[in-house]
């Protein structure tokens, strides 16, 4: 049986290649937060408390657009609904662990760590295999906090004229690069994008993110149902 420390470091090594794209995300977040007018302390607080790139950037985007707190919080919740899927998949591997481990693992259940540890958890029979996820999550934690800090420091030096707020849509385009290749995903992307753009001024309380996401998911539900039936016939 491997020691917990060995498995932890296996997690660190496995997740490392996925950390390269996290660096620009963290920098952009730090720079933009300072740009919008958050103090260095609150910016760092966001990365420590929320610890989720997409959530934090959505928070900045809606906050600078003047959305209400309730809308910001529910939009962040909508962005995070994908974690329910990760949790459901991981739960079968950690169901025998003590609650204190589940509490810790949940803090580290982020996209990159899940992507790498999902494979490991399926293959491994070790009792302490959850250390792989903790290793991957902790690695991402260190990268996220340090790049946020670096972004905060750079934020004071980078002129607003550079138009770095354009990095927000670019980072989200980058997250979707694999989805642009699939026709069903592409349809969902276009539906959501159109609803958000057309609804930007029409939908009250800046709830366009939530409305567009629901429209996109509804489209996905219908499309997958229709296509699924076709395949069974």
């Amino acid at each position: 049986m491997k020691s917990s420390l060995e498995i932890f470091f296996k997690g660190v090594i496995d997740v490392s290649p996925l950390m390269i794209p996290v660096v620009p995300f963290g920098l952009i977040f730090g720079i933009l937060a300072i740009d919008i007018g958050f103090s260095p302390l609150t910016t760092m607080g966001m990365s420590l408390i929320i610890f989720g790139g997409a959530s934090q950037i959505v928070l900045l985007q809606l906050f600078s657009g003047g959305a209400s707190s309730l809308v910001i919080i529910s939009s962040v919740g909508a962005v995070n609904s994908r974690h329910l899927l990760y949790g459901a998949v991981v739960s079968e591997h950690v169901s025998d662990l003590k609650m204190v481990w589940k509490i810790l693992i949940s803090y580290f259940l982020i996209d990159q760590a899940f992507a790498r540890s999902n494979d490991y958890l399926k293959k491994s029979n070790e009792k302490n295999k959850h250390f792989h996820l903790i290793g991957g999550g902790a690695t991402c934690w260190v990268i996220w906090q340090s790049t946020t800090l670096l972004g905060i420091l750079l934020g004071a030096a980078i002129p607003e004229k550079l138009g770095l707020s354009f990095a927000v849509p670019l980072t989200f385009i980058a997250i979707l690069v694999n989805d642009f290749r699939k026709i069903l995903n592409l349809i969902v992307i276009i539906v959501s994008g159109l609803v958000a753009t057309l609804g930007f001024n029409l939908i009250p309380y800046k709830a366009y993110v939530i409305v567009a996401a629901l429209a996109g998911l509804f489209t996905a539900m219908i499309l997958t149902k229709v296509i699924g039936k076709k395949n069974n016939e």
């Binding site: 707190s69 927000v168 958000a196 993110v209 429209a215």
Partner: protein, 104 residues
């Protein structure tokens, strides 16, 4: 609501989505159908940020003419689809944008 209260609530809801399933599920309870639909969450949510940030100006009005963001975003999508590389996607978009606003 103060900034810190807002951050706390955003953190709480983020954590809750991560914790909920781990805490309550004993074995696999999600069927394939729910899983399949949930896999579309990124495609359903991120365009809601992407499209308005590209096509609308700072006042929420449509901006189709004289909008370097459209071309720069299109270049980023093409580079992203071809390279599947996150960093290449972001930087090709930023570089095109800077080229269009500072050079052209």
């Amino acid at each position: 609501m103060s900034d810190w209260t807002l951050i706390f609530f955003c953190g709480a809801i983020t954590y809750l989505t991560r914790f909920l399933m781990i805490a309550i599920l004993k074995k696999e309870m999600f069927n394939d159908r729910i899983r399949e639909v949930l896999s579309y969450v990124p495609s359903a949510i991120f365009p809601a940020i992407i499209f308005p940030a590209i096509f609308l100006d700072n006042f929420g009005q449509f901006q189709f003419e004289d909008n370097p963001k459209i071309l720069a975003a299109a270049i980023a999508v093409i580079v992203g689809v071809l390279s599947r590389n996150i960093i290449a996607t972001i930087f090709s978009g930023l570089a095109s944008y800077w080229f269009l606003i500072f050079v052209v």
